[in-house]
């Protein structure tokens, strides 16, 4: 259960962005969360909502984009989504493929508007 500390770091970064733009209000926060990030989207949303209550970010929406694990095949260079941990290449059957995405834990964007 480290989502609370993750949410705190996200809000610190969002507030830093808001402070660069005085007079604007944060309306939306976008995150990218990989399936291998070790962070639970529901728990993160719960912590986020608890932290922003009665703050300037109370009306900001949190948008979480889930990113599946994607692997690439060293033999035929096919890139594919890993479903049910099946990491063999669907094109040529190569069993040892390399992960290229799915561990994202990123603040993707913030949207600000005039109040």
């Amino acid at each position: 259960m480290h989502e609370l500390s993750i949410a705190t770091l996200v809000l610190d970064a969002v507030n830093a962005q808001a402070n660069l733009r005085p007079g604007m209000r944060v309306s939306r926060i976008g995150m990218r969360l990989g399936d291998l990030s070790g962070v639970d989207a529901d728990a993160l949303t719960f912590c986020f909502e608890a932290l922003v209550k009665e703050t300037e970010l109370a009306n900001a929406a949190l948008e979480i984009e889930r990113r599946p694990q994607r692997n690439t095949c060293p033999r035929c260079e096919t890139e594919f989504t890993v479903v049910n941990y099946e990491s063999a290449c669907p094109a040529c059957g190569e069993s040892s493929t390399r992960s290229v995405s799915g561990d994202e834990l990123e603040l993707a964007f913030v949207e600000l508007e005039e109040p």
């Binding site: 399936d35 941990y85 990123e106 964007f109 913030v110």
Partner: protein
């Protein structure tokens, strides 16, 4: 409306400190391993056995993380090697800055092998880089053999799986072949060592792995 694209890693500060630690470990040719497991899988027992098997002149040191108590450090200190407890005070994982702080008064030039025992937890520690060369995940046969499927991030990020408490296999319904298959499904080619910290079975393989991992670590440092 004004969208500011950021693409910024949430744990960038942790990653920055971990990167600095990795550089310091490289400078002093230290192999740092991050031991992770659920509570009670036998991290401390494996460390006890490991320290017991070390020669007095071996340059090995241990950092052990727990939410509360210094019980593990007391257990490990009796072997005569440097041991320090990191008490997180509620945090469910170790972070790079805790390692940095714990190492502040240690002479890194006196260490070849640094073993970090993380907080018992198969979820949160997977997100935090500690500057280690590799994670080692420990799974005991009293747990479900499907743990690799339930906690894929941890098994995916670990270089070695130690299957512990194999002395109990006659008494528990744990299917070793299935556990191996699940671990390979999540992490194709993951190395697996079966051992018992209680009887010592499999310990030579673990020692061999540590020795060869140190050699490969030094070789990779020499080429970069």
């Amino acid at each position: 409306m004004n969208r500011v694209p950021l693409g910024q890693k949430v744990l960038k500060e942790n990653d920055r400190i971990a990167g600095e630690l990795r550089e310091r470990f490289a400078e002093h040719e230290i192999l740092c391993l991050n031991l992770v497991s659920s509570p009670g899988a036998g991290k401390t027992s494996l460390l006890e056995r490991t320290l017991e098997s070390c020669a007095p002149g071996d340059r090995v040191a241990v950092l052990t993380g727990d939410i509360q108590t210094d019980n593990d450090a007391v257990r490990l200190a009796r072997f005569g090697f440097p041991v320090k407890q990191i008490t997180t005070g509620g945090t469910c994982h170790l972070e790079a800055r805790m390692i940095e702080k714990a190492l502040a008064d240690w002479r890194l030039q006196d260490i070849d092998l640094l073993l970090v025992e993380n907080v018992g937890n198969l979820v949160c520690p997977s997100s935090y880089d500690l500057g280690e060369a590799a994670k080692v995940v420990i799974l005991s046969v009293t747990e479900g053999e499907d743990k690799p499927l339930k906690y894929p991030a941890m098994f995916f990020r670990s270089e070695l799986l130690v299957l512990n408490k194999i002395d109990l296999l006659p008494h528990v319904p744990f299917d070793v072949a299935r556990a191996r298959a699940y671990a390979n499904q999540v992490h194709p080619g993951i190395e697996i060592i079966e051992l018992s910290s209680l009887t010592g079975e499999g310990m030579p393989k673990w020692r061999d792995w540590l020795d060869s991992r140190r050699k490969s670590h030094h070789n990779s440092l020499a080429t970069t």
